[in-house]
Amino acid sequence: MNKIWIIFEREYLQRVKKKSFILSTLLTPLIFPFFIFITILLIDSDEQELRRIAVIDKSNLLQDSLSIGNNNLFKSEKDLNSLQSQILDGEIYGTLIIPEMDIYNPKPINFYSKNIPSNDFVSDLERIFEERIRNRKISELQLDKSSLDKLKTNILMDTYSVEGSTVSEGGELDVNKSSSGLAFGLGYFNGFLIYMFVFIYGSFILQSVLDEKTSKVVEVIVSSVKPIQLMMGKVLGVGAVAFTQISIWIVLVFSISTFTSIYFGIDNVETTQIVNTQEQIDQSKEMVAGFYDLFSSVDVFELVVIFLIYFTGGFFLYGAFFAAIGSAVDNLQDASQFTLPISLPIIASLMFMGVILENPESNASLFLSLFPFTSPILMMARLPFGVPDWQLILSIFLLILFVIFSLWFAGRIYRVGILTTGSKITYKLLWKWFVIKNY
């Protein structure tokens, strides 16, 4: 045990002292806010410039000139051919042609520009002309606009989870508000984070084992340490590095988000200039409110603990296999043919994640979130939707069982592999290594 500790200590300190580790640990949590910041800046600066758009309006939908956002639409009597040169010169942004049409059976309107316009632009213009046509219909059909407005209904469904609910003094059920959209996002985020870590740190283990093997240092070490101790120390060491990184990230993300929400306040969201219609502001306000609601509904502590369990379990499960592969091969190129089959369940987990998130209650979801090779990613994805305790416990139990199995399995290959160079590695040979009694 003491020796595992010495191996662990070296592996851990060597890695956390590296500049690349310190930089990536401290900067990564800042990257997302940074990108958002940059995007806002870009959009902001984009808004400054006014875009003139010539409209050839044969259906007379546009009475006069019209400004939406930074787009200025004006009526033009010229034809497209003469406007084309103005578009190319940059004098005007584009030309919109509204053909003569029957408003009850409308034709597409056409937009000509040098560059492809953004989706928002297209949908904004579509919305405007839909409304124009609607208004014309209202007057032609002599409908009462105010009663029509009354027809408009907007129903929001709030979803609640009765999981962990309490009955308050007044006999009312005190339930947690849930949000399937945000559960979806949270599930996806958690699953993806584990996927990323298993891959990145798994390949660190592979690399580290391979380095020891190719630099020949391994033989000196195994004259003082049993191979299984060396492997365990190494897997634990790299695992602890991953654990350190994710812990720092969790702390950083929480403190950054707490800081920003206190400093800016939730209400300030509407001042960001991305949103420009009242409806969108409402939507984003709802989303942010919902997000905070959801966070208050999720037991953050429980989530973090379960996350760390699956994170550690998934890491060891796959890390052991990566260690075995690193010990068997002589160079990184040879490693790829063995890392592929090991990576398949991880990649498949990511692909299944969409399905699981759509149907968190299905049998397939249950199976995949219990099966240890997929459970670290897929149980984490399911978790925000609420998972019965027995499933969670069974899943963790199976995961631990498989972790022990995979470490044992990898250890048997590792003990032979690290001292064997120059042989062509096949699955058959690996199997022989695995079953050989005395090595």
Partner: protein, 303 residues
Amino acid sequence: MLSVKNISKSYVSHKALDNVSIDINQSSIFGLLGPNGAGKTSLIRIINQIINQDEGNIYLEGRPINYDDVRKIGYMPEERGLYKKMKVGDFLLFMGKLKGLSRNKCIDSAKLWFDNLEVSNWWNKNIEDLSKGMSQKVQFISTVLHNPNLIILDEPFSGFDPVNANLVKSNLLRLKEEGKTIIFSTHRMESVDELCDHVAMINNSKKILDGDTEKIKMKYKSDNYIIVHDKKLKKEDNNYSLVKTENLSDGIYESEVSLAKNKSYKQLFNSISGNTRIISFKEKIPNMNDIFIMKVKEGGISE
């Protein structure tokens, strides 16, 4: 001190050792000789319990060797390796700790060995900045850092220039004087002649020769004599036959003669000194290199 009894070992595809036994005395230098692929490294790895034998036992001071004994062995494998990204001091500390040394003992011992090997204090140097010879020295220091009683070196002189090889040799002889037991494997026979008290030769996974170095040499001498003289010798005599003659300089010849059966060297001396003045006269003792090549050829090179 160390007894290897009837060790056999097979790998997945071939047999590496076949019923090999050797005995090694305390405070001696033991040479393990053999061509590439003969099984030397396998035997050394088995003694170090890096791999397990299929059959046979290893005894240390009369009792079966256990894992704690192995930790006390100072082992330098043929394939040298250091962690490139570490500092020399960190590496030595790491190796020392694995051998159960405390931090302070590690540092003291390393300083002592820096002096012994005539290197300045490399404690804070990066391993990747070391030259090949320098890293060989660090490797050697990491092997003897914990003052082991049994030192096992696989090809210890490869990678050293002659000056540093001699430095290591003199240190090995000093360690022997201090009562340490040293086993080393090599192809470099001149170092065997200089250092080894005892040798064993392995070829094709079998031990083919074992014994005291001087006795082996005596056993394999061929009753040939090297004579330096000033007049040409007769081709043949009833005392000898001439093997070869070389003209060293004007009127000085060196000849190798083979003693005829049932004749003594005195008769040879008298017979030759009758014709020519003898400047030097000595029996040709084979060196380990000759014996090595002879024995390997005898046994056939491993297939």
